[in-house]
């Protein structure tokens, strides 16, 4: 079983677009880490700059994003050859992207509820939360990746024996 020849370029474009978006996100996460931060991120006390910039959080998210980038980009040569593996990789990457997007949406909703329970009435905190910490790029790529699942839904148009 292989990918229909006429559909390969479309799948390659999709994988490339998502791969590049995740690559951009990876770079952004790495930039957020801050190069001046110490290597042993664990060993700094509360109040240090490391804590302010949440080094570890960005580091973990950068690695996650890098992995999804790699899965998307790895699929491109396989899609070019039309193998089932390439098709599997683009679907798999889509599922991972949706999972991460869902994670951040759930986290954002939970934070809103948590803030509400704590009774935070400071508008500036809310503003900061809603427009900076809360809404992440992963949300949008996660939601966007649902389009990849539509490819799976219509797989009969893409695969041929």
């Amino acid at each position: 079983m292989e990918i229909v020849e006429q559909k390969r370029s479309r799948l390659i474009i999709i994988a490339l677009v998502f791969g590049l978006i995740y690559l951009f996100n990876t770079i952004m996460e790495f930039i957020h880490i801050g190069l001046e931060e110490p290597l042993f991120f664990l060993f700094s006390s509360p109040g240090d700059a490391v804590f302010e910039t949440a080094y570890l959080d960005h580091f973990a998210k950068a690695l996650v994003s890098l992995l999804i980038t790699a899965v998307f980009l790895y699929s491109i040569p396989q899609l070019k050859k039309g193998t089932l593996e390439g098709f599997g990789f683009i679907i798999g990457a889509g599922i991972l992207a949706i999972g991460i997007g869902f994670l951040f949406i759930a986290e954002w909703i939970a934070n809103v509820i948590d803030f509400a329970i704590q009774g935070l009435s400071d508008l500036a905190v809310w503003e900061d939360f809603v427009f900076t910490d809360g809404i992440r790029i992963e949300w949008f790529i996660g939601i966007g990746s649902i389009s990849i699942l539509l490819i799976w839904k219509n797989r009969e148009n893409y695969l041929i024996s």
Partner: protein, 666 residues
Amino acid sequence: MSKTLALIGNPNVGKTVVFNELTGEMGHVANWPGVTVEKKEGKMDDINVVDLPGVYCLSPAAIDELIARNFIIKDNPNVIVDILDATNLERNLYLAFLLKELEVPIVFVLNLMDAAKDRGIKIDVQKLSELINAPIVPTAAIKGEGIDEAREMIKKIFEDKKLAEKSTRPIKYSKELEDKINQTMEILGEYTPKFLTEKRRWVAIKLLEGDKEVQKELTSISNGSKVIEEVKNFCTGTEEFDLAGERYNKIGEIIKQTYIRKKDVVTISDILDKVFLHKYFGIPIFLLIMWGMFEFTFRVSAPLVTLVEYLLGLAGQVFEAIWPEDAWYLSFVNDGLIGGFGAVLGFVPLIFMMYLVLSFLEDSGYLSRAAFNMDRLMYKLGLHGRSFVSMILGFGCNIPAVMSCRAIESEEDRLTTILVNQNISCGARLPVYILLGAFMWPGATGTIVFSLYLLGIVIAILMALFFRKVIFKGEAAPFMLELGDYRMPTAKYTGIHMWERGREFIKKAGLIIFTVVVLLWLLQNLPWGTEPENSALAFIGKLFQPLFAPLNWSWIAAVGIIFGFLAKEVVVAAFGLILSGQEDPEGLGSLVVGALPAVGVAAAALPALVYGYLVFVLLYTPCIAHLGAVYKETGSKKWTLVSATYGIALGYILALIINLIGGVYF
């Protein structure tokens, strides 16, 4: 007279789902093999339903297979229900054939019909039923489809003697083999073990196969050995007759007549396995999913944890308002129950959230893939991949994980797996990580928790390597793991699964932790009216503190560790109770971090000290009940002692190293 029904089948065919649907019980269900290692019982009206471990055949190769075989052979259930996997009928029919040889009333439940349809498989159920002389009910149990029909058929076979008798008719093999079986039955004559008098055909077949267990049973009766000898002589020089080949030939004939599979059907499992089982991407993706699990657990449960803490705080204020300030019962309720027990209770939503994600991953079929990926790595290191299956179970609780090692056939692999499982972080350790991690690393608590879980896996693998290379030398047995299809988990079963695990946590909290908290409260208040630093609890802490002095831990840190031997949740309860009289706007985590180090530790070294403490909590004995389980499963005081001591030593050394790197001593 009581009616008994035995539920049997290959691993991962949905036996426990069928059991739950028939009985209304809530047995542990998971989309991977080896979930049932003990028999479980339930009731369907007046029928006792016994869920047996999944087996491929009835040879007593492993403990779980032995449990199933012994029940079928010795306990004589009135009816057997064999669950068949419609997506893998050929292999499943082998066990069906073995059961038919027993000539016991039998019903076949052809499960996973939905998955079979997705794979383009068509089965002529009517024809199949005729060929194997027994009723067959097609089901998709996870969706509840066909369950009513299965229930009706089971009741019918109990009531309708004609139907029951029809289902006992054996499947006939080739004429040559049937002659052999009949002649062996003649040789057997009266010499059948008492409990097997109604299973003469089965005894004859087993003798032809050279089954050691049946031979052993026969030798226990007079002239039994003579019978065995006669059968051996009669088998024209071959010790074991090729019955397996005969069975497969017959199965092949049946499959040809009843089973059609459309070619080139690609399922989501085929597609996703290209990525999730990829030799390079498989393990990184597993790590990503684990990280996501802890991020989700910590972040999403935050409002629920806040809510529980808020309600507990409110309750404390109410008691303060209505009871006299110096009343002992106010101290007991506010310091002991709300401060100590409540500190653990606050983490219940978090534990449930983690179990929810774990159940989702398990039910989806992903966890068996994780085990497959890890097996690839572990086999290269000379370890048995089955160990990782038990390790994953350890994320919930180490005790059932230790018990699940029964399914491992090799004694060396089994002992190794039992001994390393304690390094896998169970749910009870999570509250300690979160309490300290949320204050120390507020932006990355999920990642810190992930790092501890990962460290546990790495240590478990390294220790397994040590045990296999140094103590239990020998080649690791190849690991066979059946990968079921990916399934969209149902809310019902994921919920049941989460509740089942979470309930254990609550039960433990309700009994053990409550009792320990009462004890701790008493110790903290004795001699009556004394300050906490001069109490009996402080005395115990200070008595053990010198042991932890090289790690720069205070007596409060020592109390947490000492009482944590009883159960890991007690660490949090002890902190909550000891520090309940103190106020800190940043909460209990801040108070504990302040109280952990001995005097003189610089603030900059705190993260290392706290991380070292968490690593010790991760690695030392999970709880006293775990040691009991290790003793029960190994039957050895020596290995139980090894289990208890190496964890402490390893935790101590690692905490020391972390302190050194983190500048605690400078």
